[in-house]
């Protein structure tokens, strides 16, 4: 049963402390400490409290979530995802698991658990960003503000979902590469390279054509940015809802196609020496 496989994967990941830390906790922590260090630096530079300077918590959270699947966090998410998805090749433990559940369930459960871990990673990002805001404001003497309260929550939820989906396109890619390369290392490298190339391509193609085109929309990072931009400022986005819908479909399609491909490849794979 699929639920059994998910329970087993979750049980495992919760006991794999180094994967949990490096994959899903480290990057938000780095963001937290960098933010506080920035405020300490600012306070030193200004030599007096920056009273009156506003610090918008909603804006901070949207910014942090917006870059939650960019190259730097993607590197660490890839480390975590690859450890889960390719761990059984690395430890040669597929032969322990495969007779106990079907292959689609086994790999599908890994993707589900990676999805959960990414979700918690983003929750941690939100929490640490808020904490860094509060601590940073008291260090630098800034004034905390919470813009647009009710609408702000909706924006955060939307941006959260888009970034999660963007991260899942990368996790599904990690799954495909894990199965093909039979090693976590290959999956990490592939994810980071692909994420980096997306940034370059999105910037390059975006500069040539400011309006979204089929080409740019096909790039998950571009589509995710488009969606986040739309969600964060629905009134000012100046966009038709058409491209926004396409962008969402593109992200869903990439994640589903890559995940499906990984499962299909895994199902047909010989596990001889793993």
């Amino acid at each position: 049963m699929f639920a059994n496989a998910i329970a087993a994967e979750r049980f495992r990941l919760l006991r794999d402390r180094s994967t949990l830390f490096w994959g899903f906790i480290f990057a938000p922590l780095v963001g937290f400490f960098l933010s506080i260090a920035g405020d300490i630096f600012l306070r030193q530079l200004a030599k007096k409290p920056l009273t009156g300077m506003p610090l918008d918590l909603v804006g901070q959270v949207l910014k942090a979530l917006g870059s939650g699947a960019s190259v730097f966090p993607a590197l660490f998410l890839a480390i975590g995802a690859a450890a889960v998805l390719a761990g059984d090749y690395r430890w040669e433990t597929w032969r322990l698991l495969t007779p106990r559940n079907s292959r689609p369930h086994l790999l599908g459960a890994k993707l589900v658990v990676v999805g959960e871990a990414i979700l918690w990673n983003l929750v941690l990002t939100v929490g640490l960003t808020l904490l860094a805001g509060v601590i940073g404001a008291s260090i630098a003497g800034k004034t905390l503000v919470v813009s647009g309260s009710g609408a702000g929550l909706g924006q955060i939820a939307g941006v959260f979902a888009v970034t999660w989906l963007e991260a899942m396109t990368l996790a599904s890619l990690a799954a495909v590469i894990a199965v093909i390369a039979r090693s976590p290392m290959g999956a990490v490298v592939a994810v980071v390279v692909v994420r980096f190339v997306q940034t370059i391509l999105a910037a390059g193609l975006g500069a040539m054509a400011p309006e979204p085109t089929w080409k740019t929309l096909a790039i998950p990072a571009y589509s995710a940015d488009l969606l986040r931009g739309f969600l964060a400022a629905p009134n000012h986005a100046g966009l038709e809802t058409g491209p926004v819908g396409v962008a969402l479909l593109v992200l869903l399609a990439w994640a589903a196609a890559l995940a499906g491909g990984a499962i299909l490849l895994f199902q047909r794979q010989d596990l001889t020496r793993e």
């Binding site: 059994n4 495992r12 761990g87 430890w91 106990r100």
Partner: protein, 297 residues
């Protein structure tokens, strides 16, 4: 009679190497069945196909009548394939807990099984630091603890010290009896198979060279042992069918009905026969003989 594992014309090619070559075998449910063969004979490949880890190039395998790799049949099987490996960050107990979750077994007596295989004291240590023998013990527990109908053990004592080997063999026999489980045990050690198994198939180069009850196999290969002189002359008369057995004896690979004629011929040739008796081969004899006649030894 229920068939636990059946292979029909199974072939698995790795490039030019045929790990299994038109391999057919039928293993009945009940008792301990030995799969004996030198390294590279195809034992592990057979099991990997049966468990759905590897797909055959051609032919088919089934467990309890269902196609190999089918979840309905795999639910009835526990297995330990080659030297077991585990996620290094899990303890022995957590490894079994994870496997129980994976197969949806809620009532497994994990502590009891760890005690039974002699890992009670190491239950909460990470498997990372386990010796090969400890990993094999955990592998046995993992194969048996969800109460399968069939347990496949692939060289369960390889890499263990002699005391551990004795203990594991006794454990396998005990479990097979008490749990009423069919056990298929692969080994390249004759001694192991002789002590543990009721029936055996001898594999070589991806084929079954002989198969049957251990007793029947050893009884089928009787030879006439002649103590005589000169030995050279006996060997000359026997040709292909003779083999020296020490300085003054010869083993004659002949049937009972050929014996009077042989003895007459030897006496006529001036050979002095001091002793002639039928000797049953042991499993080692059967093994070496079958491998030799299949051209693999």
């Amino acid at each position: 009679m229920t068939i636990a594992l059946e292979a029909v014309a199974l072939t698995k090619a790795y490039g030019s190497v045929r790990a299994l070559d038109d391999f057919s075998l039928s293993i009945p449910a009940g008792g301990v069945f030995g799969v004996l063969g030198p390294n590279g004979a195809g034992k592990s490949t057979l099991f990997r196909i049966a468990l759905g880890l590897v797909r055959p190039t051609s032919g088919s395998a089934s467990l309890f009548g269902a196609p190999a790799g089918d979840m309905t049949s795999l639910r009835k099987v526990g297995a330990m394939i080659e030297t077991p490996r585990y996620p290094p960050y899990l303890t022995a107990r957590d490894t079994l807990s994870m496997l129980a979750l994976e197969s949806g077994t809620r009532d497994a007596d994990i502590s009891g099984w760890l005690d039974r295989v002699g890992l009670g004291g190491a239950a909460d240590r990470a498997t990372n630091g386990f010796s090969v023998g400890m990993k094999q013990r955990l592998g046995l527990a993992a194969a048996f603890f969800t109460r399968p109908e069939l347990v496949i053990l692939d060289e369960p004592t390889s890499g263990m010290d002699p005391a551990g080997i004795q203990e594991i063999r006794a454990l396998v026999v005990d479990l097979a009896r008490k749990e009423g489980v069919t056990v298929i045990l692969a080994s390249h050690q004759l001694d192991e198979v002789r002590r543990v198994c009721d029936r055996v198939a001898i594999l070589s180069k991806g084929k079954v060279v002989t198969e049957g009850a251990v007793d029947a196999l050893t009884a089928s290969q009787v030879r006439l042992r002649l103590v005589a002189s000169p030995v050279e002359q006996v060997l000359a008369v026997l040709g292909e069918k003779g083999a020296a057995d020490g300085p003054d004896a010869v083993l004659a690979d002949i049937s009972r009905s050929e014996a009077p004629a042989l003895i007459r011929a030897l006496v006529n040739a001036g050979v002095e026969i001091t002793e002639a008796r039928w000797r049953e081969a042991d499993l080692e004899g059967v093994y070496l003989q079958t491998l030799k006649s299949s051209g693999a030894a």
